[in-house]
Amino acid sequence: MMDRQTLVGLIVTLGILLGVLELVRRRRLREEYSLLWILTALALTVLNLWSAPLDWFAALTGIFRPTVLFVIAVGFFLLILLYYSTVLTRLADQNKDLAQEIALLRHEIEQLRRAGQDHPPAEG
């Protein structure tokens, strides 16, 4: 018979897994960004059902045994958040570079257009 904590854990990880898969299916989440979530959900499911590593980890760190799984889950989530912060930084930098290029190109286009009006092209 499964204890309650295991059951709750399974529901949560299954929920994450299904939610992530659904977002990927609807093309609202790229595979590359879903990978960390899927790995996290799978790892937590395994640890939830096979608890030997948790016993070892609790003994090693002195963390209260029933909370070990949650502590590990929080660790995974922190890694995901940190990873996404780096993604955000990259996107923000690229966004800025693009905005600057757009402003510069727009100006060049206007100049070309004006020059084109000053020198109308030959017929033909």
Binding site: K96, Q100, A103, H107, L112, A115, G116, H119, P121
Partner: protein, 254 residues
């Protein structure tokens, strides 16, 4: 009429750079004053190109600046002062200008001081000349409120500690840059509140910065990007950024 034009030979880059000096003016909602500032820049440095960076203004800033004859770079959305100024440096860099002046579009920086900045730059002992409110002999001119002056002192102390060269006016955005400093700023200009950070970054890149006295005014219009409510956030963010700038890997090596 639809034109499928291959325009006649034109020179964008070479034509512009003949003047060799470009005055970069970042502007956000300054439609009321920008034309006057452009005219004053023209009067004090005839022959210089004037480049207004319209940072996603909600008013007519872009159109007014273009009508006044300025090279107008319209950002597609508000990118913040650092990225806006960097766009101006990018323009100066790509069009091979020898010197660039940066001046705020809100009237705080009197354009009449530009010749003095350029003259100081041409002495060749610095890559960037920065106008300082606190070097002027006479107490006249705008120096900011007391809390702001305390903040400025703190920034100056931290920058001095990090670089060995304490500035007198670490938040001044009035500057003149030579080719080397233009290249640096085009590639690596901090965002948000860039002026204090630029001091540390330029020092690390081996660029020489010198201050000259410059009287400043109260802004003609618009709203300061640093409101009282934001100043605590501003100070902590800048202080953190300064410390990180001192250890961060450089993006550009010139």
């Amino acid at each position: 009429m639809i034109q499928t034009t291959v325009p006649a030979p034109i020179q964008i880059a070479s034509g512009d750079s003949a003047a060799r000096v470009v005055v970069i003016i970042p502007a956000y909602n300054e439609a009321g004053h920008i034309a006057q500032i452009i005219d004053r820049v023209r009067a004090s440095v005839p022959g210089a190109a004037v480049c207004v960076i319209n940072d996603g203004s909600k008013d007519d800033t872009g159109r007014v600046a273009a009508a006044a004859g300025a090279i107008t770079l319209n950002m597609p959305f508000n990118v913040g002062i650092g990225a806006a100024v960097q766009t101006g440096f990018l323009y100066a860099y790509r069009h091979d200008y020898a010197m660039a002046v940066r001046l705020d579009g809100d009237g705080q920086h009197p354009p009449e001081i530009i010749p003095a900045l350029l003259e100081a730059l041409q002495r060749g002992d610095a890559d960037m000349i920065i106008g300082s409110r606190f070097l002027t002999a006479e107490p006249a001119g705008y120096r900011g409120t007391l809390p702001r002056r305390i903040g400025i002192r703190l920034l100056a102390w931290v920058i001095g500690w990090l670089t060995g060269e304490p500035p007198t006016d670490p938040t001044s955005g009035l500057l003149a840059a030579n080719r080397r400093a233009i290249a640096f700023c085009a590639h690596e200009y901090p965002h948000d509140y860039p002026e204090p950070e630029a001091r540390v970054l330029m020092h690390r890149a081996g660029l020489r910065v010198r201050e000259v006295p410059a009287a400043m005014r109260e802004r003609l219009g618009g709203v300061s990007s640093i409101t009282t409510a934001r100043s605590v956030y501003y100070m902590s963010k800048v202080l953190l950024a300064l410390l990180l700038d001192a250890i961060r890997m450089p993006r550009w090596k010139g």
